[in-house]
């Protein structure tokens, strides 16, 4: 059933009892032409574009829990594309283009809201780095502009720009096309559209082994719901990527860290945009439900615990209270963690692996939600054709051998 004004009216007269399930939950087939491991936004988007643009219908997404239950459903949903290097601008810019009409394409409201993402500068280094980004972005046709503290406050009235705080705001960069989207809706929208094209979405199905034939090429997977044969696998398992790839004997330049977020009790609209501060490790926006959505930093050590240390969240709340004094007395409702897979250069890995038939899309670390449509689109090309899309070609695993890193780490220190 397509969502439309008419279907909404019909369903409301039927007391919303007639909505069909949004995607099928079939039993696993004995074999597929390709399998995507990981039912987060990136994996589901990959499967959707493989079906929609490459005509592959006999494919499955295999998810150990429920779709979107990984980082997709745990992130603070900041969307922006003002990265430093040309390779990144192309990749995140590609996603930004796809976000614009994604709700129409999927016939599912992903609530993409280009409300503007403002990044605060607190010291001379920040000013220099952000201005460098602004200039590089403008040369590449990516919108990004520099604001004075007064302009920043005009854009976000609850921002504290007084000069006598510990980390005063001395400027900001603003990407107006940046914003947020509804994380669950992105997963559900892609799942629904993919399922309608014939993609099997297999939940509660954990991959426990990757099997290979005599030549070393991929032959299939073992799962908690049985053995499935396939000659092509795309691994899109975020924080669990090293673990899944170890099933095929591949070691990676990845480390998995807990990253946490928290939300306040809901209040009337107070915040019209997204504000980020990399330097003092805090960022905030307001959801349509009214909760203030706050992102914190990562823990110092590798962990798969899906929780973070309380001192990390406390540190962020210190910063939030200083930047936004009028939210100080709000109570926090929920706090959670996700496991993010971080690469040495803070850029993702999208491409081939040493194992024939095994492809990889990982390393999105603390900031991959924004890239979901673009990542899925180029990775679908990679898995379907076997060769990289021009946009993901520079993001190969091989760059850690050749030294052609795409160093957003040096550029931003943290990135969301």
């Amino acid at each position: 059933m397509r969502f439309s004004l008419l279907s909404l009216i019909r369903q409301s007269f039927a007391h919303n009892t007639g909505w069909p399930e949004q995607w099928r939950s079939p039993e696993p087939k004995p074999s597929y032409d390709a399998i995507i491991i990981g039912g987060g936004g990136h994996g589901l988007a990959t499967a959707y574009y493989m079906a929609a643009e490459h005509g592959m219908r006999n494919i499955a997404v295999v998810e150990k829990g429920w779709i979107g239950g990984g980082n997709t459903g745990r992130n603070t949903t900041i969307i922006r594309s003002n990265y430093l290097w040309e390779e990144s601008e192309a990749l995140y810019g590609h996603a930004m283009t796809l976000w614009q009409d994604l709700s129409q394409v999927l016939n599912y409201n992903v609530m993409y809201s280009p409300r503007g993402v403002m990044m605060l500068a607190h010291n001379i280094h920040d000013v220099q780095v952000f201005k460098r980004h602004v200039h590089a972005n403008r040369l590449a046709g990516t919108d990004n502009e520099w604001l004075t503290p007064e302009q920043a406050k005009a854009f976000c009235p609850i921002l504290n720009i007084s000069k006598d705080i510990r980390y005063p705001v001395i400027g900001a960069s603003l990407q107006r096309r940046g914003g947020t989207a509804r994380h669950d809706a992105v997963a559900w929208g892609y799942a629904r559209a993919a399922s309608a094209l014939g993609v099997d979405i297999l939940q509660n199905c954990e991959v426990t082994a990757i099997t290979r034939d005599a030549s070393g090429a991929v032959a299939g997977i073992e799962t908690t719901r049985g053995t499935i044969a396939t000659k092509r696998i795309g691994v899109v398992a975020a924080g669990n990527t090293s673990h899944v790839m170890s099933m095929a004997g591949v070691r990676l330049p990845l480390e998995s860290y807990p990253l946490q977020a928290l939300v306040s009790e809901p209040v009337k609209p107070v915040m019209p945009c997204v504000v980020m501060s990399n330097t003092i490790h805090a960022y905030m926006s307001q959801s349509d439900k009214g909760e203030l959505v706050i992102g914190a930093g990562t823990d110092a050590y590798i962990s798969y615990s899906q929780t973070g240390g309380l001192h990390i969240a406390t540190h962020t709340l210190d910063a939030i209270c200083e930047m936004f004094p009028n939210v100080r007395r709000l109570r926090m409702l929920r706090n959670w963690g996700g496991i993010v897979d971080v690469t040495p250069d803070r850029s993702p890995i999208i491409g081939k692996t040493p194992v024939p038939g095994l492809f990889l899309n990982c390393g999105w670390g603390t900031g991959g939600f924004k890239a979901t449509p673009g990542s899925g689109h180029v990775f679908a090309h990679q898995v379907a054709t076997g060769e990289p899309h021009p946009i993901n070609a520079p993001f190969s695993l091989d760059r850690f051998r050749t030294g052609r890193l795409i160093d957003e780490a040096a550029a931003a220190a943290v990135a969301h």
């Binding site: 673990h243 070691r251 990676l252 330049p253 590798i302 001192h311 050749t402």
Partner: protein, 97 residues
Amino acid sequence: MLLIPCPYCGPRSELEFKHAGEAHITREPQVADDQAWGEFLYTRTNPKGIIAERWRHTSGCGRFFNCLRDTVSDNILATYKSGEPRPSLETSGEPSR
């Protein structure tokens, strides 16, 4: 927050320490090709299970040491001085909680 037993100072709060990455990473000095160099610099075990990692007691004795920790439960299973071999866990056999 972790409670980390420094082998020199005893148990202290995580705030006194800096994490210093995977332990026991060594490089064969005779091998200098791009593959080996890239792996030495960047490839990590990143295990879901027991990791050998380095910590530095920056706000204490200042020394580096090694630690075995279960990355699923975050339980610390052993700490030992740099240069000492990785202890075998068979005797302690502590289940992950």
